[in-house]
């Protein structure tokens, strides 16, 4: 175990450098640059707010903030797990030439999306101020849902990036899967509105719990109870363990298959 930690520390600099590269190249040569990661979620929120509060009439109090809490979490998960999935295939040339711990590739992708998540919290803050939502001290507890979604995305990223090397179909299948996943996460509707069996699925979706926790601490000024904490923590640990195990088992085969 200590050798793993030692090895990780030795390559910490590389992780930083890879994240820096992603962040730098993402908006390079666009006029607004990094500002896009604030403007993007804001624009999406405005469109979705108009659609859902005027067309579909979802009766949710403070809909813009409600929507954005869900969006911020789900978009991070979606983006991070999707880009992490192709990270091993995308770095094939490098994997064949230089020895580096391979988990750094999915990890760096999740971390660079995490930087994006942090900037989209600025957008969330703007919406909170604009809608006059009052914040209570519980807002500092948002580190919990943020931590959980990071862990969950990293676990999924490791799992997917290892599997996709053998089964390329996953690349195409996964976008369908995330669409289903999005509708099964209460981003723009309340859970209460769902009929029985769908509700069971939705309430057991780990992302639902994470989104709920974020809303509790930001919108309702509540401290998440131990049950909700467990419902977030347990799936995160399972996915993380599964991801690490699969990745570890598969990593020596990558070079033969990419």
């Amino acid at each position: 175990m200590s050798t793993y930690i030692h090895n990780f520390l030795a390559y910490k600099e590389l992780l930083k450098e890879l994240v820096r590269r992603d962040v730098k190249t993402k908006y390079r040569r666009s006029f607004l640059g990094m500002l896009w990661s604030v403007l993007n979620p804001l624009g999406m929120m405005i469109i979705m707010s108009i659609v859902f509060s005027h067309v579909f009439r979802a009766n949710i109090e403070n809909f813009p903030v409600y929507l954005m809490c869900g969006q911020v979490i789900f978009n991070f998960f979606n983006e991070a797990s999707t880009v992490a999935m192709s990270s091993i295939l995308g770095n094939a040339a490098l994997i064949k030439k230089v020895y580096v711990p391979k988990y750094l590739f999915p990890m760096s992708k999740v971390c660079s999306c995490f930087v994006n998540l942090l900037t989209s919290f600025i957008a969330l803050l703007i919406v909170i101020v604009a809608t006059g939502t009052s914040l209570s001290w519980t807002v500092i507890l948002l580190v919990f849902p943020v931590f959980y979604v990071f862990l969950f995305s990293l676990g999924m990223g490791l799992l997917l990036s290892a599997l996709v090397v053998t089964f390329r179909d996953l690349q195409h299948l996964y976008s369908v899967l995330t669409t289903a996943w999005m509708y099964l996460t209460p981003i723009f509707y309340p859970v209460e509105m769902l009929p029985g069996w769908v509700r069971t699925i939705v309430t057991h979706n780990p992302l639902t719990c994470i989104v709920q926790m974020l809303r509790e601490v930001i919108m309702y000024g509540q401290v998440p109870d131990i049950r909700l904490q467990l419902m977030c923590m347990v799936p995160c640990i399972i996915v993380m363990a599964l991801g690490l195990w699969t990745f570890y088992k598969q990593q020596d085969k990558f070079i033969l298959k990419v």
Partner: protein
């Protein structure tokens, strides 16, 4: 042996050559059920054993496909041997391809940090040695230009400059000196000699016998994955010359 820095023990490397390419889960399951998954075994390396002492310069020679690059990759830790083991004591600077890991959208300077980190060099060290990297690569005017606008020679120069900025315990060089003009080649040779004098161990692959003779004292001849000879560079080159 305690003073050997690289130990290769009975290394064999097998690749599977699949007759049918199975890339999807469905195909895989169907063929697995029908027991149609068939592949040929291809042994790129067969029972290779040798040791390299500290400070030695060893050339690997052989025709295309004889397993030279595969052997270097197992030593660099990129490939895991199917059988046998490789023990390496010390830091390895692999130069299997110059500029592997460069990001075309980043500037030369940013790439120095990225590539340096890939090779495991600390950032402070790269900053300290930035002047030397710029001097060596002769790219002073172009350090803030994205390298997608560079010529292949410029990229190779930058790659070599970064990889050799400090003296590693083991340097692995795989036919990279064929790029660039004669002046740059001479410069690379000079730098390699300098490193050898400082005690670096060198593993060198080249098709040019003259280059191997110039740099190495010992050579290993490979053919179809087997080690035919491990002797002084003169003897090996003579034998290799005969085979041609």
């Amino acid at each position: 042996m305690s003073n050997s820095i690289v130990e290769v023990n009975n290394v064999s490397m097998m690749f599977r050559l699949y007759r049918e390419n199975v890339d999807s889960l469905k195909e895989f399951l169907i063929k697995k059920l029908k027991r149609q998954i068939s592949y040929d075994e291809f042994w790129a390396l067969k029972n290779i054993s040798f040791q390299v002492g500290k400070g030695e310069a060893v050339g690997l020679v052989g025709k295309n496909g004889s397993g030279k690059s595969t052997l270097l990759k197992t030593i660099a830790g990129v490939l895991k041997p199917t059988k046998g083991s490789v023990a390496v004591r010390g830091t390895v600077a692999p130069m299997i391809e110059l500029g592997a890991g460069f990001d075309m959208d980043l500037t030369a300077k940013e790439n120095v940090f990225l590539n340096g980190a890939l090779l495991g060099y600390p950032k402070e060290m790269l900053e300290e040695n930035m002047e030397r990297i710029i001097d060596f690569s002769e790219l002073k005017m172009f350090m803030d230009v994205p390298i997608k606008n560079f010529s292949s020679g410029m990229i190779a120069r930058l790659g070599f400059a970064v990889a050799t900025i400090y003296t590693p315990d083991i340097l692995i060089v795989d036919e990279i000196l064929s790029v660039g003009d004669w002046q740059f080649q001479a410069k690379c040779h000079h730098r390699i000699q300098e490193m050898l004098e400082q005690g670096t161990t060198l593993l060198f692959v080249s098709h040019s016998m003259d280059q191997v003779k110039e740099v190495c004292s010992r050579a290993i001849l490979l053919s179809h994955g087997e080690m035919l000879m491990d002797d002084t560079v003169e003897n090996v080159c003579e034998r290799y010359g005969e085979a041609q």
